[in-house]
């Protein structure tokens, strides 16, 4: 039984979230009426010319920096010539010979490094809707900036492929390079899959898997493909170099187009655009202004707030959440410590986020669904001792459920902490009278019973009693009498 190594390379096309398209002046936006965001250049009118939008380069540079890529001080653009109705000029402007950066890398959880061969700037095509015997053309998307990210074939399993994809996806979203929405089509991934006998230096024929628009399906597609190729080889057949799509109903890949039909794109340098010169100054400027990376943010939490690594990583991993955390902390410090805020955030806020996701039926959530002021109130009231930590949770849950200011809930429900010593002493004395045998047992040395008394006090006061006061008075009462 031959064992095979899996060899996978991933190609990602990611739209750049600039306001303007990459080579022309019309808006880069989504959801408006067709053929609205257009100008002579992106509709390929006679005489129109491309002009590079530097903002697209700045966005792409963020990824170059985050992946430790080598940035070319000078790179150029090429024309990729082919006919297709969503390609109005009859060519796409891309960077075939000289991508603006190359040889970057990202690190998987296992510590394995996946090398990124190149990241290149290019433009997106328009959209066509196929209805009956016609195709209808919409140029809103034509000319939107893209980066194409090509990995080396360093990936050895479907799981690694998805991990790699998720890391890149996280980066582009975190760095605000792209909306990264696979369903809307601004983050697209293709996988090149081949297998070879274990340890062999000779690569097998590659199959390209295209047009799969979710991580889940891509993983399944790659899994299926690896097995399919093993099966084909074991039957003594060769692997045909081709493009395959994924049928999510059958959970199988299927053939779309063989590489024999491969087009001759007649690449040549784009004469309408001068070379792209990226200066050190530009790079520094991008470095300074780019959003903080999760890894860096986590380190900041560890250094500045002394949070443990696990906590820091968890909070830093979600961009909007960590901003919420930062804002909440600045609101409540110095009275409330970072550790308390982080515990509250992880245990309570993230719980609410999860509930919200379940209610909405989606993983996509772009902000914490609980007002910052309210969270601050709860933390401060707890710290001041106005409510107990235990009740704080209940207040939060009720406040979220009813969408009501926690101050109101505390008031209405009478959750204010009971810390009046006389009132508490009264309660304690009543309890000691009711449970006199337990009092005797405690006084004779059964110290564990202290907890029992505390519990009773809490039961009677519906959890409102201030634990410190209870402890002090209870001790006094139990030992005094």
């Amino acid at each position: 039984m031959i064992e095979y190594d899996t060899v996978i390379g991933i190609e990602i096309h990611c739209q750049l979230a600039s306001q303007k398209k990459i080579f022309c002046q019309s808006e880069n936006a989504f959801g408006n009426s067709p053929n609205y965001h257009i100008d002579p250049t992106c509709t390929g009118l006679p005489g129109a010319l491309p002009v590079l939008n530097p903002k697209c380069v700045s966005l792409a540079l963020r990824l170059a920096l985050a992946t430790d890529s080598a940035i070319a001080p000078r790179s150029s653009f090429d024309r990729k010539n082919y006919f297709y109705p969503d390609n109005p000029k009859g060519y796409q402007i891309t960077q075939f010979r000289t991508p603006f950066c190359s040889e970057g890398k990202i690190t998987l959880k296992s510590g394995k490094k996946i090398r990124i061969q190149r990241i290149q700037l290019e433009e997106d095509a328009g959209k066509s809707i196929h209805v009956g015997d016609a195709s209808l053309l919409d140029y809103n998307r034509s000319g939107v900036g893209l980066i194409e990210i090509v990995s080396h074939p360093d990936i050895s399993s479907p799981e690694e492929a998805i991990e790699y994809l998720k890391i890149i996806h996280n980066l582009v979203v975190h760095l605000e390079i792209s909306d990264g929405n696979m369903e809307q089509g601004n983050f697209r991934a293709d996988a090149n899959v081949s297998i070879k006998p274990k340890g062999s230096p000779i690569l097998g024929n590659r199959v390209e898997i295209k047009n799969v628009n979710s991580f889940k399906y891509l993983e399944k597609a790659v899994q299926y493909e690896v097995q399919r190729q093993a099966r084909v080889l074991s039957e003594g057949q060769p692997i045909v170099q081709e493009t395959r799509g994924f049928d999510s109903d059958k959970n199988e890949t299927f053939s779309q187009r063989t590489k024999e039909d491969a087009q001759d794109y007649r690449y040549f340098p784009e004469p309408d655009l001068p070379d792209l010169l990226i200066s050190e100054e530009w790079i520094s400027s991008v470095k300074e202004s780019m959003p903080e990376l999760p890894q860096i943010r986590s380190l900041r939490y560890q250094d500045k707030y002394d949070l443990p690594v696990y906590d820091a990583d968890l909070i830093a991993s979600w961009k909007e959440g960590s901003q919420y955390f930062d804002n909440l902390l600045s609101r409540v410090s110095p009275q409330v410590t970072p550790k308390i805020v982080s515990n509250f955030y992880m245990a309570e806020i993230l719980k609410i986020v999860k509930i919200s996701q379940e209610n909405k039926g989606t993983q996509e959530i772009t902000e914490v669904p609980y007002p910052l002021d309210w969270a601050a109130t709860i933390l401060l009231e707890t710290q001041k001792g106005k409510i107990t930590g235990r009740l704080a949770k209940e207040v939060l849950d009720l406040s979220f459920e009813k969408n009501q200011d926690p101050k109101i809930i505390i008031q209405e429900k009478g959750f204010t902490v009971l810390d009046d010593p006389q009132a508490i002493e009264k309660v304690i004395i009543e309890i000691t009278l009711k449970h006199s045998s337990e009092v005797k047992a405690y006084q004779e040395g059964k110290e564990k019973l202290f907890g029992f008394f505390v519990g009773q006090v809490m039961k009677v006061t519906a959890g409102k009693a201030d634990p410190k006061v209870v402890n002090d008075i209870l001790k006094k009462v139990l030992l005094g009498k």
Binding site: P40, T43, P46, F83, Y267
Partner: protein, 488 residues
């Protein structure tokens, strides 16, 4: 006597805008009666011009508009909204401009009036204006002869006085050569001096919108308006044309390469060059022999690069968004292929095939890449020449205007016709064709001579041409014949 200069027209109308109506009526009348003989104009827009005159008459300070009321004709490959941009091709039959090119905007912002569009070789591919769906353009001096091309219509319209200034486009000589054939000035600016935004692209790294005028003053005026940096064209230079620089002829050194015209050039042209050399010497100009050995490789280099870029630029003419579309196509492939095959003329298709071939897999290195290397080599050679001389003098064309139909089937001849002009496009340097005041002794056909200048030295070149014109070395050929013919 010369036809009215731009400055005179501008002054006349600034002082009295009411004169515009009658003036333009006269121009349109003349075009109507004479254009059928020359076929230089393809469309006129008297109604739009009428509205434009009304608009201009509202301006409070017309004297501040350098082209106020000045009539302009543009080659029909230059975008102006609602004007024909047919490019003399069936594939753009009926196509009206969808936006304004920057050059047109600039002219109009200065008060100019664009009266119509000029005939040309289809998609600017040709050097005789015989490859046009509108039929050939006739030479003003002998209607049986060609006007030159591809901007033949613009050249003749300027020579006949249908407009003060006409715009053409020069990719390999398409303005300088017809200027020489029609006895007027034709100027190819430094590449990037004039915006190409709105010029239907032929050879993107070679094209420039280029003006025809009957005097150097007019050329200077129009260059100040259109020679501007443009954020819509990434290949434009960063600085605007500053106006002609004063020139002391006694300080000037002009380079010549006599071997270039020792063979294959008409006798009268050689005589004109020699005469001009003598006249310049008398004025204190130093004449030096120079050599640019690579110049003989220019034609091949030019055609490789131009047809490659053209094959890509013309891909957008696919029947989808504008122009001719083959009806009842059963598939998108059929739509593309039939629309293009029926829509493009023979010469254009040939160049597309040539360009596609040279860019195709396995051939790119041998042709396009090599061609660009030769081009770089040529640039370096020419750059060295400027160490010794300020300008280079050479003929514009090897022959006098030939007969319509005479050379049109002979591919190689047509290519050689561009020998003196393409080096300027390949290297990006500015070049001007200046008309001899006296034409050929026997036929009176016009003769044009050409000057090259270093890259970015448009101000110096136009200044130099002006100095020579002042000394009567050059001038509008037989302007007396054409004065008022068109209306000017």
């Amino acid at each position: 006597m010369n036809s009215m200069k731009i400055s005179q027209i501008q002054k006349m109308f600034s002082e009295n805008p009411d004169l515009m109506t009658g003036f333009y009526e006269n121009i349109f009348k003349n075009i109507e009666s004479q254009n059928p003989e020359y076929n230089s104009i393809t469309h006129v827009y008297p109604d739009i011009v009428k509205k434009r005159i009304e608009e201009l008459s509202q301006i409070k300070n017309p004297q501040d508009y350098p082209l106020y009321g000045v009539p302009i004709v543009i080659k029909e490959n230059i975008q102006k909204k609602n004007y024909s941009v047919q490019c003399a091709s069936k594939i753009l039959e009926g196509y009206l401009g969808q936006y304004d090119s920057t050059a047109v905007s600039s002219l109009e912002k200065s008060g100019a009036i664009i009266i119509g569009t000029a005939n040309m070789d289809e998609f600017a591919m040709g050097s005789s204006n015989e490859y046009s769906i509108h039929g050939p353009v006739h030479n003003p001096f002998d209607k049986k002869r060609v006007s030159g091309g591809s901007s033949g219509g613009s050249a003749v319209s300027c020579a006949l006085g249908f407009a003060s200034v006409t715009l053409g486009s020069d990719t390999g000589g398409s303005v300088r050569q017809p200027a020489a054939f029609c006895g007027i000035y034709g100027y190819k600016p430094t590449y990037g001096r004039v915006s190409r935004y709105g010029l239907v692209a032929y050879g993107s790294s070679l094209d420039q919108i280029s003006p025809f005028t009957t005097s150097v003053d007019d050329l200077d005026t129009v260059m100040k308006v259109i020679g501007q940096t443009d954020p819509k064209d990434a290949t434009t230079l960063l600085h605007n044309y500053q106006g002609k620089k004063a020139c002391d002829l006694a300080q000037i050194k002009v380079g010549i390469m006599p071997s270039l015209w020792s063979k294959g050039v008409d006798k009268s042209i050689v005589e004109s060059i020699n005469k001009t050399i003598e006249q310049m010497k008398k004025l204190g100009v130093t004449i030096k022999n120079i050599d640019i050995p690579t110049i003989h490789k220019c034609i091949s280099t030019y055609y490789i690069i131009a047809s490659a870029e053209a094959s890509s630029n013309l891909a957008r003419f696919d029947g989808v968004r504008y122009g001719y579309r083959e009806e009842n196509s059963q598939s998108i492939q059929e739509l593309y292929t039939k629309s293009r095959s029926k829509g493009f003329g023979k010469e254009v298709k040939k160049r597309i095939m040539l360009g596609t071939f040279t860019l195709s897999q396995g051939h790119y290195d041998a042709f396009y890449e090599k061609g660009q290397q030769v081009r770089n080599y040529l640039k370096k050679e020419i750059a060295k020449a400027w160490d010794d001389v300020d300008f280079i003098l050479l003929p514009t064309t090897p022959t006098l205007p030939f007969s319509i139909g005479e050379k049109c089937e002979d591919t190689l001849f047509m290519y050689l016709n561009d020998l003196f002009t393409v080096p300027a496009n390949l290297t990006g340097i500015p070049a001007i064709s200046c008309p001899m005041i006296e034409g050929d002794k026997e036929t009176d056909l016009p003769i044009g001579l050409q000057f090259y200048a270093p890259y970015n030295e448009d101000e110096k070149l136009i200044g130099f041409a002006h100095a020579l014109e002042q000394k009567q070395l050059f001038g509008h050929h037989r302007s007396d014949v054409f004065m008022n013919q068109g209306g000017l």
